[in-house]
């Protein structure tokens, strides 16, 4: 799987959404499942998938699908 496929899979699994809704408009709280509980599950899944440990600021600023791609760059993960 490419990094993009892995990244998308985390969103699809965590928020039970179809892959084609994932774009810049897919933001925190845009679906009921992406609440604080869902956010924590997603961060944990991303950390497991890419073998990284994210910093506080990056976890709380991870506000959308697109922002996440930027955030992961800091940890050497190119989507």
């Amino acid at each position: 799987m490419t990094n993009k496929e892995k990244y998308n899979k985390v969103f699809v699994d965590c928020f039970s959404v179809a892959e084609d809704v994932l774009d810049g408009n897919f933001t925190y709280q845009c679906v009921a499942a992406w609440d604080s509980v869902g956010h924590m599950g997603m961060i944990a899944a991303l950390e497991d998938t890419f073998g990284i440990m994210m910093e506080t600021e990056d976890i709380i600023e991870f506000g959308s699908y697109s922002i996440g791609i930027e955030k992961l760059k800091k940890y050497g993960v190119e989507i």
Partner: protein, 470 residues
């Protein structure tokens, strides 16, 4: 009637809001007095709100007017709200404007920022218990209309007891990390307003950068959380945050994993913060016990002792008081904060005090030689999922209503449901439906399918076998 709020310092700050507003006790008092005219004594008022200024003012206005508020969260599903309205026929409803569409038959009496007050023009029966002052749901359960009936004395006694053991004074500032309609969240609000302290009113989560900005700018000194809140805080590397004003952490809403309690305890030691682990149930308004921070390590895992003014003892299956050290029995609490009983429909609001200050908690506990109490399990079939109490039996009934034979079990923060059937069961869809119905996040529900549920000779589901299968 005694006021819930300490109004003696009109100049001091009562509230900070999300939008940077600062409200003094004097201003709050004016607003509350003004809005209290909306309500008649003994009006039954549904308050479907959030942790915001309008909701807080209406809650206080209804309470001070001698009306009977029922506190509900804005995330309540429409079918649940409808069934509550049918069961109780409230006189007035305060609710977010977006919830109005389904109730368009009702008259709009007042309009606030984001909310309406609707009037049903139904007066409550004159038989309603004169001491009834507040209602709370028993859990975020399956649309069940089961409520707990409180007197003003219940609420005020509990707030005073909390002020006493947490030593809350007017310099304290708490943040609303829990929904106001959840008994723990309500007790944070009540105890701080009664102490003349301040509150940061917000619905923002720990994952919102603005939450942390507000924590700093408002100088929050105290933070309340359920076990799941502490998991989130640890995930966010809470230990690295710089919050010099924060000096107290409290935890209730279910037993926390010992490893997590240990981490929070160590963190508080390093940072010079106080950490209180506490025990309660909505039925006790809700606080019953707390462990003083100085005993955190010595009595690790204990819920401590009864709150000031309350009493705890254990009873065996015959209802005899247990006097032996470390023998397990049901935890019984007695104190002026024990509610008067349950209600399931309007007529029940006229019932007298059925509990007489004694609450059988359904929790199994032991007491050590120094009187510290340790929870060992539950007598009844309930789980706490992210602080919300979920009845396993009601989950099974919900499945039965969908024509599935199912068994519900699990541990705190994980509800397991095994359904009898085959490939026709749509696990993802059903999980989502159940998640909506009981207001529990779908990630906390594990659903499996078996052709046949394992059963004991008696025909009862063999839960132990299901647990072992996992």
């Amino acid at each position: 009637m005694k006021s819930l709020v300490n109004w003696s310092n009109p100049q001091s700050t009562a509230l900070f809001t999300d939008f940077g507003e600062v409200v003094t006790y004097g201003q709050l008092n004016k607003e509350v007095l003004f809005d209290s005219k909306i309500f008649n004594k003994k009006d039954l008022v549904f308050i479907v709100g959030r942790n915001d200024l309008v909701t807080l003012i209406i809650y206080l206005a209804a309470f001070e007017a001698g009306a009977i508020p029922l506190l509900l969260g804005a995330d309540l599903s429409e079918p649940s709200l409808t069934s509550l309205i049918e069961a109780y026929s409230p006189s007035k409803l305060f609710l977010p404007k977006e919830k109005y569409s389904s109730l368009s038959g009702l008259k709009i009496e007042n309009e606030f920022d984001g909310y309406f007050i609707l009037s049903t023009e139904i007066a409550l029966s004159p038989n309603v218990n004169p001491n009834l002052a507040l209602l709370l749901p028993t859990s975020g359960s399956t649309g069940s209309p089961k409520l707990v009936r409180f007197t003003a004395e219940n609420i005020i006694f509990n707030a005073d007891s909390i002020i006493n053991y947490l030593s809350i004074d007017s310099k304290e500032c708490a943040v609303t990390t829990l929904p106001f309609n959840y008994s723990y969240g309500m007790s944070v609000v009540n105890s701080h307003l009664r102490a003349g302290a301040s509150l940061l009113l917000t619905d923002r989560s720990f994952f919102d950068a603005d939450f942390w900005r507000l924590m700093k700018s408002c100088g929050v000194t105290s933070l309340a959380g359920v076990p799941y809140s502490y998991e989130m805080l640890m995930k966010l590397r809470f230990e690295r945050m710089d919050l010099p004003k924060l000096r107290t952490l409290t935890q209730a809403g279910g037993k926390m994993a010992p490893s997590l309690t240990k981490r929070v305890t160590e963190l508080c030691k390093v940072k010079g913060m106080r950490f209180f682990t506490m025990y309660g149930q909505t039925e006790a308004s809700p606080r019953m016990a707390f462990l003083s921070p100085e005993f955190l390590e010595l009595k690790f895992g204990s819920i401590g002792k009864a709150i000031p003014g309350g009493q705890i003892w254990l009873e065996d299956e015959q209802g005899e008081k247990i006097s032996e050290v470390d023998q397990i029995g049901e935890l019984i609490y007695s104190g002026p904060n024990v509610a008067q009983g349950y209600a399931e429909r309007k007529e029940d609001l006229s019932r007298a005090d059925e509990w007489n200050s004694v609450l059988r908690t359904g929790d199994l506990a032991r007491q050590d030689a120094e009187g510290f109490i340790f929870i060992e399990g539950r007598k009844s079939r309930f789980l706490k999922i992210f602080g919300v109490r979920v009845s396993l039996d009601s989950v099974e009934v919900w499945c039965q209503n969908k024509a599935f034979s199912a068994a519900a079990y699990g541990r705190d923060d994980l509800l397991m449901v095994t359904i009898e059937g085959g490939e026709e069961i749509q696990i993802a869809g059903l999980t989502k439906e159940l998640s909506d119905a009981i207001q529990v996040h779908s990630s906390a529900i594990g659903m499996t399918v078996l052709p046949n549920l394992p059963r004991l000779n008696s025909g009862k589901v063999d839960y132990q076998c299901l647990i072992n299968l996992r």
